[in-house]
């Protein structure tokens, strides 16, 4: 590496430290979170921005992102009608709106959820020992520099705290709006902690959207799922094309708990989702799926570490990527089966459909097994449009263009159609499948 490149990285890190100093001295910082902010920046100094050979960033070039100077995003203003139009009809009375990471009570409507749905600022929730410990513990072991930065700048995160046995009829939309700027780039650090008491159930739909480009979302989500509780989390990333989106989702699933996590990403300058999931006790179950359609130079990357820590746990992963033009995707996923985690059942499959010569996809399905009585599979496919399927459709009178569009659409649609929320399916038809129609029609 040349001397100038090293200097550049250092100056980027210096800039972040300066921004952090300004943040701690300013009005945005919250006193109860200060120890976490300080621990976060220390972790950042230790980890530093990733270089190309960093194990976690083998397939992801964060150089442009790290090299951009960001200011902390403010809280708006935001056009109410713009926000309203992005609220799913089924979530009219179960929506929490965040602008640049900050919860907006006036734009939110949680009236359809009843008293057992509790949402509070993390600066207030941090008095709860378990919450505080979760925030601190996760930092001590944090190996993702962007997640560490989220803690360093955390000031407006929320806790969704669901008491034991509570269930809800409707899904909760978490609408994260980034406002972007026409001048310098801004960054927001949304933080969400979701805790479900025993046997509670919750469906959340985090949706990320931007009013204009030139922003970065650096989100961290923690899920604590107690015995027998279940979360369905369907995340939609439909940021502005001129944005960056990095996220980390940390999950602890206790005995017989369930997480059904789906993520659909439309891509942008760089999207990277990092999942760290601990199936901590017997019977814990995970479903994790991802769908993406990339055109132009859009990028979506997934980095996944699933820890099977107890016997009889299940994890199912399925990723489907359609990549056209100069799009790039990667799925780097490892399932770690601890010693003693017998009768683990784990499957991972990554399917890629490549539509151009310059499309790029890196896939690394990986298994590390330290138990001897487990059933684990992993695999990946990379292919073009199936000629037999194309011929079949043409023999029914469909034009080549229509047949190709149908086949590329169906490739991701088989995953999208498994999403149990019609509003989300309709949304994904707009943001993902439309990209394919435009290409072939």
């Amino acid at each position: 590496m040349s001397g100038s490149a090293v200097e550049k990285t250092e100056s980027q890190e210096t800039a972040v430290l300066a921004l952090h100093k300004k943040f701690l001295g300013g009005e945005q910082a919250k006193a109860p979170l200060r120890s976490i902010n300080e621990a976060g920046i220390k972790r950042f100094e230790l980890l530093k921005f990733p270089h190309k050979k960093h194990e976690m960033y083998t397939f992801v070039n964060t150089h442009e992102l790290a090299g951009t100077s960001f200011e902390l995003a403010g809280e708006g203003p935001v056009d109410t009608a713009w926000v309203q139009s992005r609220i799913y009809p089924a979530c009219k009375h179960s929506v929490a709106v965040f602008v640049n990471g900050a919860f907006q009570a006036n734009l939110s409507d949680l009236s359809g959820l009843g008293d057992s749905f509790k949402i509070q600022c993390l600066s207030d929730a941090v008095v709860d020992d378990e919450i505080k410990q979760t925030l601190i513990d996760s930092l001590e072991e944090e190996n993702d520099v962007f997640a560490a930065l989220n803690s360093a700048f955390m000031h407006h995160g929320v806790l969704i705290d669901i008491p034991a046995k509570a269930t809800f009829d409707v899904p909760v939309q978490l609408l994260y709006v980034s406002t972007g700027t026409s001048s310098g780039a801004v960054v927001s650090h949304p933080r969400l902690v979701v805790r479900l008491g025993e046997m509670a159930e919750l469906k959340v739909l985090p949706v990320y959207a931007g009013t204009r480009g030139n922003y970065c979302v650096n989100a961290v989500n923690d899920f604590i799922i107690k015995d027998g509780a279940g979360v369905t989390c369907t995340q939609v990333q439909k940021d502005d094309a001129e944005s960056w989106h990095v996220s980390k989702t940390r999950v602890q699933v206790h005995r017989d708990g369930r997480l059904f996590a789906r993520n659909a990403s439309s891509g942008n300058r760089l999207t990277r989702h990092h999942y760290e999931i601990h199936l901590k006790e017997e019977g814990a179950e995970l479903l994790l799926s991802g769908a993406t359609v990339l055109v132009h130079q859009e990028q979506v990357h997934n980095f996944i570490r699933i820890h099977h820590e107890a016997p009889h746990c299940t994890s199912e992963q399925l990723f489907k990527n359609v990549i056209n033009d100069k799009g790039r995707s990667s799925v780097d996923g490892t399932v770690i089966v601890n010693k003693g985690a017998q009768l683990t059942n784990s499957n991972q499959l990554i399917n890629n459909l490549m539509l151009s010569d310059e499309a790029h996809s890196d896939n690394k399905p990986n298994l590390m097994i330290f138990a001897d009585d487990v059933k684990c599979t992993h695999g990946t496919t990379v292919g073009q449009i199936d000629e037999d399927q194309l011929f079949y459709l043409k023999t029914r009178g469909l034009s080549e263009a229509l047949a190709k569009s149908l086949l590329t659409t169906s490739f991701v649609n088989s995953l999208i159609q498994t999403i149990p929320f019609p509003d989300v399916v309709a949304d994904l038809n707009e943001i993902l499948l439309k990209k394919l129609e435009a290409k072939h029609a």
């Binding site: 011929f391 043409k394 023999t395 009178g397 034009s399 080549e400 149908l406 169906s410 088989s414």
Partner: protein, 251 residues
């Protein structure tokens, strides 16, 4: 004018000639059966007729309804009324069966200069056709052929035939893998769809299908050629005596 006229057709796949000089004339209102042992070139002929791009015609001609069929793309042939019922119908996860059928139906309407039908109107048409071929309505909302049993896949082919109402239908081994009950249902469906204005070519390895769909003409394929042609009684002779007595002299 004949509906289909194949003259001295030579065709193959990946450089190997499989069909080695086939001539066949088919008129509207006729039902032909092409029989023969495995590997005799029957399925290759069906792929060539439907316009599979991997099958190359090296010699000969095919005239369909006065047009040079070999000049037409697979979709043009379909829109002109040629229908191939596949031996192994392809599964396409993610494509809704009813939507696919409506797309195919509409493609034909547009070709004929008519307006497309909307999903509600098509639903009525589809219900009637499904009844005709004895298919459960639940298959409307399934992904195209995905997880269908062998019998349901074949019924779905006949359903497509019913929806598209082709002039020339080629059924490639539609009977293989079907139990007798499914075969009867499929055959009844096909019989309802054949009339004096269209023609049917059944490609089969077994005589069983011909008990339920009666051909006027039977052709025996061997070594890429038609080695014997006759009436429906030829099928019975083949069933009783096997293929050796007709194929042996050709070798």
């Amino acid at each position: 004018m004949s509906l289909l006229e194949i003259k001295d057709l030579h065709a193959g796949f990946e450089g190997t000639e499989i069909v080695k000089g086939v001539s066949l004339t088919i008129n509207a209102g006729e039902v032909h059966a092409i029989m023969g042992p495995n590997g005799s070139g029957k399925s290759t002929l069906s792929k060539v007729l439907a316009g599979h791009p991997s099958y190359v015609v090296s010699k000969g001609s095919i005239t369909y309804n006065g047009q040079d069929l070999l000049e037409m793309d697979a979709e043009e042939r379909a829109l002109a009324g040629v229908f191939l019922g596949f031996q192994y119908p392809v599964e396409i996860p993610g494509v809704n069966n009813a939507e696919f059928l409506r797309m195919a139906y509409n493609a034909k309407l547009v070709k004929q200069g008519q307006d497309e039908v909307d999903p509600l109107d098509f639903d009525e048409i589809l219900d009637e056709k499904m009844k005709m071929v004895g298919m459960d309505k639940k298959y409307k909302d399934r992904f195209l052929n995905e997880g269908f049993s062998g019998g349901e896949k074949k019924k779905n082919e006949i359903l497509q035939m019913a929806v598209l109402d082709p002039k020339l239908t080629i059924l490639d081994e539609t009977d293989s893998g079907l139990d007798i009950d499914a075969l009867k249902v499929v055959a009844q469906g096909v019989n309802k769809l054949t009339n004096e204005n269209n023609a049917l070519i059944m490609i089969t390895h077994y005589q069983r299908l011909l008990n339920y769909i009666e051909p006027q003409f039977v052709h025996v394929f061997s070594g890429g050629k038609i080695v014997k042609s006759g009436g429906k009684e030829l099928a019975h002779e083949l069933e009783a005596q096997g293929y050796d007595w007709v194929t042996a002299p050709a070798k």
